[in-house]
Symmetry: C2
Subunit: 343 residues, 2 copies
Amino acid sequence: MSGAQLSDHTVTKHTIHEVARRAKVSITTVSRTINTPSLVDPATAKRVSAAIEELKYYPDTHARSLVSGRSRILGLIVSDITNPFFPELVQGFEDIATRQGYDVLVSSTNYDSARMTLSVRRMLERKVEGVAVMTSEMDDHLIEQFARRSVPMVFLDVGTPGEHISNIVVDYAMGVNEAVAHLVGLGHRRIGFVSGPQDLLSAQARRGAFVRSIEAYGIASDGRLIVQGDHKVTGGLDAMNRLLKLPERPTAVLASNDLTAVGMMRAVRLAGLVVPRDISIVGFDDIWLAEFTEPPLTTVRLSRRELAEKACGALIAGLSAAPRPREYGIETHLVIRESTCPA
Amino acid sequence: MSGAQLSDHTVTKHTIHEVARRAKVSITTVSRTINTPSLVDPATAKRVSAAIEELKYYPDTHARSLVSGRSRILGLIVSDITNPFFPELVQGFEDIATRQGYDVLVSSTNYDSARMTLSVRRMLERKVEGVAVMTSEMDDHLIEQFARRSVPMVFLDVGTPGEHISNIVVDYAMGVNEAVAHLVGLGHRRIGFVSGPQDLLSAQARRGAFVRSIEAYGIASDGRLIVQGDHKVTGGLDAMNRLLKLPERPTAVLASNDLTAVGMMRAVRLAGLVVPRDISIVGFDDIWLAEFTEPPLTTVRLSRRELAEKACGALIAGLSAAPRPREYGIETHLVIRESTCPA
DNA sequence: GCGCCGCATGTAAACGTTTTCATGAATATA
DNA sequence: TATATTCATGAAAACGTTTACATGCGGCGC
């Protein structure tokens, strides 16, 4: 009988009232069993839990958020989810957030400020309880919108900790120094650098660290050896081509990120040269791909897991009133593979 | 004065009531100006809009969802966001969803069924209006939970369209045929295949397509030439090593996905051979990386953009009562680069 | 001039929780 | 024994919307 079939599939809306009726208590008690079990008699709690189990009841998030003012959502803004650096970050962030009972609203802005504005708008509407901004296109106007609502924020390298703002500062200099030391130790003196987009603060930091490091080794930094990329493969390819055309080409080149290095390696091969015999290459980030390029890439590791942990941790800490650190440091270290060899 | 400063930052909660008061209308009228402008006098609407603008008011999503029963959230479940195939899919999906006013809750299950159960639970709690399942670890029990609530679902290749279920069927055979034709045309006869994990339906489909295609060309399919990978780089590497140890090794090998192909190429090089001179390799998916491997990878393209569009489209169509297609087809096509050459 | 209809607007009831406050019972304190 | 204190529970208000229903008003056909 189709009527019977239909009612098989019909679901009574399982609200807190149903549970209450079933357990013969008030809805208040049900709510308490879920949220503050210490306030309810163990025997009653058991009865309520049984009813919940039976009905497969779970509270309506919207109703809950409406009255409690807490959405249990965290926002995560990245610049380009297509860059292998970010999925790992997203994954780690989600892991941790989920474990703490938070859901994550991810947004990839594609370096586009209109998109960014839209993301912020959406996050505001969903009343996120915290936002991690892992990109630099965030303008003050948008920051203010979160600040105004006392939403904790955490930034990467952007560096103005404040009431609700934490900052993660990556020690780029550390890894870059290790890389330069490694190269110098191998006898390299003409060392080039392919930077990222100049408006990206983290890219600026990487470049700055390189210049300082080079000079620390008594090598006069040569402007012609520093060319601009875009943190993508094609940018690295173009940049390396320019470097190769130099009258005196570098014997080693550092990249601002691994994608850039991949493009650079391709440019070298296209020029009929081989890495590392003719030119050594060092990347930055240590994305999974670095292990599988040809040859495997020597690179500076920036742990995504650690980044995710600190970012998420900062946000969740920011939700409690307790005093908390406003700055989190992250180290970077050289990982030596096969894209470098003596000059 | 600190008091003054403080009040600078104080925000009055901008509710619909504030707007109403400001525009001298009832909250109903405000609601209507936002949701069904046709029902309100243009002059009034203008006044209301002005008030909204002034207060930078936007409706509270939770309250809205609570009463309307619509969350404006779509769920997207992928198996591994770390696989470059998926970020592009996620990006496309988000683009489209956002444009339609939906937010997206992304979940990467890492091939782990416990995680999957958790994701489903979270999505149910957030009352997603539709779920796209781009992985095969979905068991019937979980599917039923969505079905019970009439949540539209769309699957990839899993193939049991129903009341609320749409299915996207990828024409793997098409691309695989093109690849085999290409190889046979180049004179290859001993053609190998590295499959994906066997419990993945899409991997099974790819393998099946290969076997049928080979036979269509009158080549007896040789079991030893088909070895199993895991859709990751390392699996491809191992698999290719096994293939290379064969008394009569294949002159060309198809991979079940590009990551596998990357591993295979590495194995070939490690064995002191060169692609494509000694062995031709064809990938599957055409992830961005395929263009930048050494040599650039000949592969079968499966458009992520199209996949995202169809998946998202199916969900949104499923929300209206109108009859809609239950099956969406996607073609695949060979992209010839430099990892293949005459036998 | 009367009833009717459509239009613009408003009133009030939901939606499903959390939370404040009140109540009664049981236990400890004097 | 009378009074305070804790403990377990419940009643009802609030959260900020949408929406079903009601109202008043001007125009139209007759």
